[in-house]
Amino acid sequence: MRSPPIPEMATQEVQLSETLAHLKTESDTLKGKLEEERAKLHDVELHQVAEKVEGLGQFVMKTRRTLKGHGNKVLCMDWCKDKRRIVSSSQDGKVIVWDAFTTNKEHAVTMPCTWVMACAYAPSGCAVACGGLDNKCSVYPLSLDKNENLAAKKKSVAMHTNYLSACSFTNSDMQILTSSGDGTCALWDVESGQLLQSFHGHAADVLCLDLAPSETGNTFVSGGCDKKANVWDMRSGQCIQSFETHESDINNSSEADREVAIYSKESIIFGVSSVDFSLSGRLLFGGYNDYTINVWDVLKGTRVSILFGHENRVSTLRVSPDGTAFCTGSWDHTLRTWA
């Protein structure tokens, strides 16, 4: 495909190019100003502030439970508020609800698509949401009747134009937040399936999201393939802040408006697929593509421990609601709880 040879279109081209050049200059100037302002406030590094903090001692964490039952790669998992149940989804289209403490399977649903990349537990513990290559997010109420087919009561809530990468209930069972390969995030009313708000701004697939707890309770963060992490206002749909990531394994963001710390080690070569903080925020757990979990001291910036156990890539990692353990899902078809 080459530039069109027709004269009228050529003039249009020139005009467009000029506008583009002008806009680019303006954008660059503003970006420069913003960088200047940010630099003025960056008066100290995290490890300087954390100098007085005591270092951490030896760390012993082990696999405490192994959940076997998925027939293919585990892609996502989420904890129930009761601190022991979890929901997990897999490449083979199955979504399973487990009591991770006893390792019993309590419910199982077969989705009509494969690659169920997202799943979430409802705050009440009475439903789960999941989706993936079907471009949808569906909610399944959890029935205790052994004979009832869970798929029968399924409710289709979200519809995107590309795969569903993540989903999360907000404060109640009534609203779901989704992110998609179509580059957008969206907020939905579960009961009616109505789109309440959509969030545009990512230049590529959005891969993950997380709710940000605050007194005004209205924001969330999303991360995308465009190497950006965006903070959104749920009410207006606007992007409040944007963080650009570099080649770091993990990027930590805060109100300081810029990257605060990079957690990396020369010997860690493979990318991290999922992260979560311990309850106090002192530890950061990362599930890596080389099958390991690295535990970081967030304040000192050092690696505290490396955990082995999975036999393939760790695809998902979440700390339990009361912080007593964290759970990982892996391409080796299993989930593990660590404490």
């Binding site: 806009l23 503003l30 697939d205 490396i306 009361d322």
Partner: protein
């Protein structure tokens, strides 16, 4: 499937980072001063240069990156798996072993593909490389053939993934020259406009110094340290380690006597108090004594509107107006006139966020006034004094005596029972 749908810049760059880092390690290995000691290894009638033993690799990794043997074995294994190190004796098995079998280093760049699959620009580069490293070309060819044969024995899925990774890597690192279309100018314009808008807004925003914000984070993490079970354990024991669920039983949503840590946590912030069902209940009791309980009731009703179903918003807003905002309402809340006017106007076209301003006003009123007084009150102090500090229970000394893991009722069951009872009544 993942490769196709995630085939934009981001995913490739993630893979590129791995390969670049692995190459860094390999380059470091070849450093004349700090690198590995290599030698020539005779294999049948060929002499292989740049050979070293598996044991040497592991020792070198342990020393250079200050890691334990387990991790060095793991990392070394990855280098072999991705073909940066190649086993001489057993070319079919891509496993690093810490014994005396020698391994040569070769970068796993496949210069040889099936006949005719090379693109034009790739063919050009192939011949250039051939000329440049002619003296070791035979060995390169042998290596490539061995790798192809080894890859045939992998699972098809793994093979395809690795082939795509390689292809992607080279498309990025040695891209063909391509022609671009002017149509994308329009898209660029749109994106730039968004960026400019964003920058303008960002410049207008209030900003906080790094030191203030970071110190806040350090303080937060210190305050919550004793509440972090992974950092400091939990009492009586961590259920996942001891198989005893006492910790969870003692900390369910509503208990006769809460634990000390839990009551202490209510004092950390107003949000912590409100997020805990028991804390909220205690606070309500306190407010009733102060004759300002309507504030908390109003706040809860607003939360219900914000997070509830779309279909019930109108009816809920009506209720809130009737109970809390209408002149002469039974539980009238004290809001400043400006906010009240704005809210009353908004109610005429009710929506999910119509109560936000009023709710915020009442929230901060409680936070600044009632909450600090509650923490100083006898009600709170007594609660703290009564609170339980459980005894620590160590894991059973006899490893073979495993506790029975009790199941718990599913949350879904509790709700089902409740609705059943309602149905009967």
């Amino acid at each position: 499937m993942t490769i196709n749908t995630l085939a934009k810049g981001g995913w490739h760059r993630d893979q590129m980072a791995c390969f670049r880092k692995m190459e860094k390690v390999i380059v470091a290995m070849q450093d004349p001063d700090m690198g590995m000691k290599m030698r020539n290894q005779r294999l049948l009638i060929t002499v292989i240069p740049h050979a070293m033993t598996g044991r040497d690799v592991i020792n070198w990794l342990m020393q250079k990156y200050n890691m334990c043997e387990e991790e060095a074995l793991h990392l070394g294994g990855m280098l072999v798996r991705y073909g940066y190190i190649y086993p001489l004796k057993e070319p079919r098995s891509l496993v690093l072993r810490a014994d005396e079998s020698p391994y040569p280093i070769y970068l796993a760049k496949k210069n040889i593909r099936k006949q005719g699959e090379l693109m034009e620009y790739e063919k050009e580069r192939y011949s250039v490389l051939h000329k440049r490293i002619n003296h070791t070309w035979d060995f390169v060819v042998m290596q490539a053939r061995e790798q192809l044969r080894a890859s045939k024995q992998r699972r098809k899925a793994d093979r395809i993934v690795l082939e795509c990774q390689e292809q992607a890597y080279w498309l990025i690192n040695r891209p063909p020259v391509s022609h671009f279309v002017c149509v994308c100018v329009c898209v660029c314009t749109f994106c730039l406009c968004l960026q400019i808008e964003f920058c303008r807004r960002a410049l207008g925003r209030n900003r906080v110094k790094s030191s203030i914000c970071l110190e806040g984070f350090v303080k937060y993490s210190e305050q919550y340290l004793s509440h972090d079970p992974i950092m400091q354990g939990c009492l009586p024991s961590n259920p996942w380690i001891s198989d005893d669920t006492a910790h969870w039983t003692m900390n369910t949503e509503v208990v006769p006597i809460p634990s000390r840590l839990r009551v202490e946590r209510w004092s950390f912030s107003f949000m912590e108090l409100l997020n805990d069902a028991m804390g909220r209940r205690e606070f309500m009791t306190y407010l009733e004594k102060e004759f300002s309980a309507e504030n908390l009731c109003f706040w809860q009703a607003c939360e219900d509107i914000r997070h509830g179903e779309n279909s019930r918003i109108v009816e809920k807003v009506e209720e809130v107006y009737k109970n809390f905002l209408a002149p002469g309402a039974a539980r009238w809340v004290n809001i400043d006139s400006k906010t009240m006017d704005k809210t009353l106007k908004g109610i005429q076209h009710p929506h999910r966020f119509v109560m936000d301003d009023a709710q915020m006003h009442i929230y901060f009123l409680m936070k600044k006034d009632s909450f600090p007084r509650y923490l100083k009150s006898d009600l709170y102090k007594n609660m703290l004094a009564k609170a339980i500090v459980p005894q620590e229970v160590k894991k059973s000394v006899f490893p073979f005596m495993r506790r029975q893991r009790h199941s718990s009722p599913s949350p879904a069951q509790a709700v089902a029972q409740a609705s059943e009872e309602e149905g009967r009544a």
